[in-house]
C-alpha cells in the first residue's frame, strides 16, 4: 500500500512537471491527463471511490478533451524560443520556492497531521442502520465494506440538497454563456 502511494505521487508530480516544462501544448495536455490519472489513483487509495471515478471521467475525460479540441481548433504550435524577461522568470521561480519552503516548515510543525493511515474496515463502529440508506448499503456496512457512492449521494441529497440545485443552475448558465460567447455576431 505504501509503495503504491509513492509510485502514484511520483507519477502525478513528474507528469505535472511535464505540463509546465514542455513547449508543445499538446504534450502539456497529455501530461496533465496522466497527472490526473495518478491523482485519481490517490483518491481511490483514500477510499474515495466516487471522487476518483469522477476525477477520471470529468477531468481526464471531458475537460482534457475540451482542452485538446481547443488546442487543435486554434492550431497552436510549439512556442519558439525567444528572449524572455529574466527578471520576471527569476521572480516567479523565487516566489514558488518561498512558497515551498514555507509549506514544508508548516507541515513539519503540524502535529495533528502525524496520524497514520488506518484501514476504515478496522474502525467501523456503527451499531444501528444509517438513516436514508437502502437495505443493501446498510448490509454492506455490516460486512465492513464501504458503500461509497451511497454515502456520497446521501450527503449530497440531504445535507447539501440546496447547493446541489444551485450548481445545476450554474451549469445551465455556463452552457448558455458559452453559446453566447462563441457566436460570431449577436443579432
Amino acid at each position: 500500500m505504501e509503495v503504491l502511494f509513492y509510485i502514484f505521487s511520483a507519477i502525478m508530480i513528474f507528469l505535472g512537471l511535464g505540463v509546465i516544462v514542455s513547449r508543445n501544448p499538446v504534450t502539456s495536455a497529455m501530461c496533465l491527463v496522466g497527472s490526473f490519472l495518478g491523482l485519481a489513483a490517490l483518491f481511490i487509495q483514500l477510499d474515495a471511490f466516487f471522487i476518483g471515478i469522477i476525477q477520471i471521467l470529468v477531468y481526464a475525460g471531458a475537460v482534457m478533451v475540451l482542452f485538446l479540441f481547443i488546442i487543435m481548433l486554434l492550431d497552436l504550435k510549439a512556442e519558439e524560443k525567444k528572449s524572455m524577461n529574466y527578471m520576471a522568470f527569476a521572480g516567479g521561480l523565487i516566489l514558488a520556492l518561498v512558497f515551498m519552503v514555507q509549506l514544508s516548515a508548516v507541515l513539519s510543525n503540524f502535529k495533528a497531521g502525524d496520524v497514520g493511515f488506518t484501514p476504515q474496515q478496522a474502525e467501523l463502529t456503527l451499531e444501528k442502520d444509517l438513516p436514508g440508506l437502502p437495505e443493501t448499503a446498510n448490509a454492506k456496512l455490516k460486512e465492513d465494506k464501504l458503500p461509497d457512492v451511497h454515502l456520497v449521494g446521501r450527503t449530497l441529497f440531504t445535507q447539501y440538497n440546496y447547493p446541489l440545485q444551485v450548481v445545476g443552475v450554474l451549469l445551465l448558465v455556463s452552457t448558455v454563456g458559452v453559446v453566447i460567447l462563441s457566436k460570431r455576431k449577436l443579432t
Partner: protein
C-alpha cells in the same frame, strides 16, 4: 507509514507546480491547465482530510461533497474560459499573454 502530512505535502507540491506554471508560462492555454492543477491539489487535501477525520469509522463525507462541488464548478469554468480564449484568438490571432496588453496601465 503514510500519514496525513504525506498527502498534504504531495498536494502542496502539486499546487506549487501549478503556481509556477501560472507565473512562468506565457501561453494562455498552459496557464489555464496550471489553474486546473491547482484546483486538483486543493481537492487532494480535502479528500485526505475527509479520510483521516473518521466519524463512526466512516470518512467525513462533508469534505467529499465539497470536492464534488469544486469539480462541477471547475468544469463550468473550463467551458467558459476556453470560450473566452477562442473569442480572444478570433480578435487578436494570438494566445500569448505578452501580446495581449491593451488593459496594461
Amino acid at each position: 507509514m503514510v500519514t496525513l502530512n504525506h498527502y498534504l505535502f504531495v498536494s502542496g507540491v502539486l499546487f506549487t507546480l501549478g503556481l509556477t506554471g501560472v507565473m512562468l508560462r506565457r501561453s494562455l492555454i498552459v496557464i489555464f491547465m496550471s489553474l486546473e492543477m491547482m484546483l486538483s491539489a486543493a481537492n487532494l487535501s480535502l479528500v485526505a482530510f475527509s479520510r483521516f477525520n473518521l466519524v463512526d469509522g466512516l470518512p467525513n463525507y462533508n469534505g467529499q461533497a465539497f470536492v464534488f462541488f469544486i469539480i462541477t464548478v471547475a468544469a463550468a469554468e473550463v467551458a467558459v474560459g476556453l470560450a473566452i480564449i477562442v473569442a480572444l484568438f478570433r480578435a487578436r490571432q494570438t494566445t500569448n499573454v505578452d501580446d495581449i496588453t491593451s488593459m496594461k496601465y
